[in-house]
Point group: C2
Chain length 323, copies 2
């Protein structure tokens, strides 16, 4: 179901003059892509737009020229603050103390959004970039090449290159329109989904080398110790896809990835897959972590051997994985 | 540019009764997907359809029910032979001797197609599955769930999940229509693009472990020896994506992957990437192999050390990679 933006929001965007765009902490492709597309769109119709963004930005997203304007200028007061791709105010990355503003507009695609703005344009979609694309079209704003790449980045990253269950007919309809504007997104897509530094690639290989299977191949276990992590440039080079390696193995229903941060301090990522869809957020939340049913994480202080016993026990007890 | 099928081809499909569907050797997702979609489509309007396919079929494609009809029945004569996704007659997988038939129809998306049929519906598109989808629509044939999955498989595999430069606005327009028929392709897409057996995953990890870089990081070199290959289930477990590992590393422009088949017998895969786009098919063809500018391969009998010298020399001399 596509909802057009309300006349109220359209008026708000057209009648205000100074805008500050914010997004969530640790901005991803959708956060950065929708920020750039909307920011440049508003600038193109004569608005003053500033950005305040959590840094650093992931390497794969750093080619956008518009990034030079991020965090370079901030007024004491804005007509309008726009919060993108952020479902709760707590998760927003914002100036401390917050700048003064007239009204806040929230634009987001998460069902869980708390509607914390004065205006809220919240609609379930594959990415906030989908909503921004439709909004710009409705405002008759012409998309330049960088805005087109930004929308592509939003949608492509938040859907795992059009593979996740959040993809809809409308998602592909928008892509169909983007391809009318630009012939090929192949180099951009390669950068977003495949490119790794040598160290990142080697770290990925070490993760695979470490895999062991438990419980008749239903649990995959990946362990990266401090020495290995440091050898390949530290935690920053552990790419997101490492946590998914386990559940990409045939027959595996739980992927556990453990990274040693310090002696007796571990970062744990859990992934769960169909047909069981075990809720891994339970054990994560018990340990002060977070996430959702199929992807969760937490930090653990203690012995690795105890951690392992606890995780296996949790999975066995609660879900009777074993006979 | 979308071309509708001609009235002549439409008549041919509607007026003939017995069909044999063939495709190319070593059938991939597009070959199998377009075969199933067209085969079931013709059956749904009362035609007799047999299939003759090169076996085995890749594991990721083996869930289609229609596969039970492959190679199980073959007549001595058909009204019509349809050759799918195959650019030359030499590359076709066909009965020896060939069955008798009235007329052959070639349906293919490769620009290089030699138009070797009595009728040829050849049009550049992301996949033959695109052409089959439009053909079925034009014939007002209703797609069942398996046909929808088959079309999705064709397009998704031939575009690397909508990432390659062959994707067009029309590709996404078709996907948009497929999503009207089915809510989510996420599990299918995961199977097509991510799932590996434990041995395949370990082999992939070994390939990464073996990477070394030459020529200031412009050439990535992967080597899998016989022992490693056998340890993880043999050549059949070397997945296609291994050949791309090298060029997915930042700064690498040539990826070389060498697999030891026997003592002094090697299979070589070469990949080239922008901005240089070195034509790696030259050296492949010199050694009796094949491929195209950015992806080629050949077999080599001799010493590994000589092979390495020759490849590096080729790359250095012809393209002045080095100073």
């Amino acid at each position: 179901m596509i909802t057009n933006i309300s006349q109220e929001i359209k008026d708000y965007l057209e009648q205000n003059q100074t805008f500050l765009i914010l997004t969530h902490k640790k901005p991803d492709g959708d956060a950065i892509g929708s920020t750039i597309a909307l920011g440049k769109g508003l600038k193109s119709i004569g608005k003053t737009v500033d950005y305040y963004i959590d840094m650093p930005i992931e390497k794969k997203l750093d080619a956008f020229h518009e990034i030079v304007y991020f965090d370079t200028h901030i007024l004491k007061e804005y007509d309008a603050v726009i919060m993108l791709d952020c479902s709760t105010y707590a998760y927003a990355f914002k100036p401390e103390p917050m700048v003064r503003f007239e009204k806040m507009l929230v634009i987001d695609h998460h069902q869980s959004n708390e509607n914390f703005g004065d205006y809220n344009h919240v609609e379930v979609a594959s990415a906030t970039g989908e909503l921004i694309f439709r909004l710009l079209k409705q405002m008759s704003i012409i998309l330049d090449d960088e805005m087109i790449d930004a929308i592509y980045t939003s949608i492509s990253t938040d859907t795992g290159s059009f593979q996740f269950s959040n993809v809809t007919s409308q998602t592909h309809e928008i892509l169909s329109q983007l391809y009318y504007c630009k012939n090929s997104f192949a180099p951009l897509s390669k950068k977003l989904h495949h490119e790794k530094s040598f160290d990142q690639m080697k770290m990925f290989g070490e993760a695979i080398s470490s895999i062991s299977l438990f419980e008749n191949g239903r649990i995959a276990w990946i362990y990266l110790d401090q020495q290995t992590i440091n050898q390949y440039g530290g935690m920053i080079n552990i790419t997101d896809d490492i946590a998914n390696i386990g559940v990409n193995i045939t027959g595996v229903i739980i992927g556990v990835t453990i990274k040693q941060a310090e002696d007796n301090l571990y970062r744990v990522s859990l992934r769960s897959r169909s047909p069981y869809d075990i809720d891994v957020s339970h054990i994560a939340k018990e340990h002060g972590g977070g996430g959702h049913q199929r992807a969760a994480g937490f930090s653990y202080s203690g012995l690795l051997s105890d951690l392992k016993i606890e995780i296996i026990k949790f999975l066995k007890e609660e879900y009777e994985l074993c006979d």
